[in-house]
């Protein structure tokens, strides 16, 4: 039962994703990509659980810790770099002649 439900969630999310992003101006392609890239860092949730429960098991600890570090780079770096890019677009719109 759980499996079917998870699959159901997955399929709905896929359709939602396609609907959400089907019309994005090309100006925003890069920020959209790096912003969604940051979202894929959601795997940090799994990494935290994996690292947190690895009490005493060295391999589990190494795996979990590496996952936390890499996912954190992905999340923090991804959001900040997107933010930096978007603020560039914003500044220009304020200062521009349009």
């Amino acid at each position: 039962m759980t499996l079917t439900l998870l699959l159901f969630v997955f399929v709905l999310a896929a359709f939602l994703g396609f609907e959400l992003i089907s019309k994005v101006p090309s100006q925003l392609h890069t920020p959209l990509m790096s912003g969604s890239n940051a979202i894929s860092g959601i795997t940090i949730v799994g990494a935290l659980i994996a690292a947190g429960r690895a009490d005493g098991d060295t391999l589990a600890l190494i795996l979990g810790f590496s996952a936390v570090v890499l996912a954190s780079i992905n999340v923090v770096g991804g959001y900040l770099v997107t933010n930096r890019m978007l603020s560039m677009f914003q500044n220009k719109e304020k200062g521009g002649p349009s």
Partner: protein
Amino acid sequence: MNHLFLPELFTQKTIEAMNLAMTTEPGVLLNMVNLTYIVAAILFIFGLKLLGSARTAPRGNMISATGMLLAVGITLLDQQILSYTVLAIGVFLGATIGAVAAYKVRMTGMPEMVALFNGFGGMASLLVGWSEWHFLAGLPIAAMSQPLPFSQSVIALAVLIGGITFTGSLMAFLKLSGRISGRAVVFPGQKLINLAVATVIVGAMVAYVFIGQTGAAYPVFIGLLLLALTLGILGVLPIGGGDMPVVIALLNSLSGLAAAAAGFAIVNTVLIVAGCLVGASGLILTVIMCKAMNRSLGNVLFSGFGSAANSGPKGAVQGEMKPISCQDLYYVLESANRVVFIPGYGMAVAQAQHLVRELGEILEQNGTEICYAIHPVAGRMPGHMNVLLAEADVPYDQLQELAPINAAMEQTDVAVVIGANDVVNPAASDDPASPIYGMPIINAHKAKTVICLKRGQGAGFSGLKNELFFRENTRMYYGDAKSSIQNLVSEFKET
């Protein structure tokens, strides 16, 4: 902002109190966690939606970051977490590296940065899958919440997709940053080898699930992992620099799917939803990029486009390239009423975007109407030129997409091609024998005069000769784009 990611928000006391509440009423916390995950998923959805329009995009990014913060925060209350020290160190380390990288990267280095972040996300999903397997391998079957074959299948998928994403992104990073050649690398039997690796991977996945928990499962699992990493390298090897926008978008999609697979493995809905959203958005971008080149995804991935072997003497071009001096070019531009700049990857490499903007402003003051023609696949990632020109403070209303710019090309006095090649190659529209035939291009050749800035006389990334350079109305302005334009700007300032 970084400090928000640290679990210090949740002091040891709160956690103990939570744990206490949990031991008395186990269902309460679980519900709270899952409800928070739903809120986080909603924030991701709104965030992505708002990222779709320039006005709301910064807010969208903040909303999505808030969702992430919520998801991370509530996860720290998870019952299974025993030690917070490791988590604090790991998050702090990752957040610091990520923040420093995000602030230090130059806009011209953005494609490789995005590729690298992407790869890290994929690797993290692989590691989550691995540690879940490590956990299950020592667990009695009776204690498992899900049927073992299901867990193994989704773990295998997380490892497979995550592994391909990791090494594939690393290869893209190496190619984009010029640490290895950006050209497509092809060798005899390549497709056969890749097919063999893919087949063995499928076999290993089946074997792994079939073996179950017995002793042989771990070695098969590790073999699968290594094969996935190999396939990522082999897969990106035959893809050349100009096809990178497609590859980056596709890897972005895969990193999301890897997270979703990891979500199935640890039975976590927020991973599934967020990962799947990213998978879908990346796929859409991939399709947009393919359409902009009028090629199928399969052709981009497998044809070895732009390799040395593939770029034979197709389309022998007659004529010669006619150079123009800086001073002559000054006169041409000075008297022009309408000038279109066509930037490409060469402008990014030369970091000439600021000087181009300066030249544009000078021309405007001189009474010339200017605009920039942006091809969707110009550069090395989707939207690359937009980012560079935004960094240089080029007004957004001067950037034009394919259709409007081509409609007005015949009324254009001068088209200035700055380091672009294939996207202005007229062979795409009039030479059916050309490998890029059918790709929508910017019709630079229809302008009255075409000026091409180019470092040397060699062919572009695709290895194709560009007929545009040989046309009657084309003049070549040789040199590094940055110093060439610098000279032009000085010429204008002196006179």
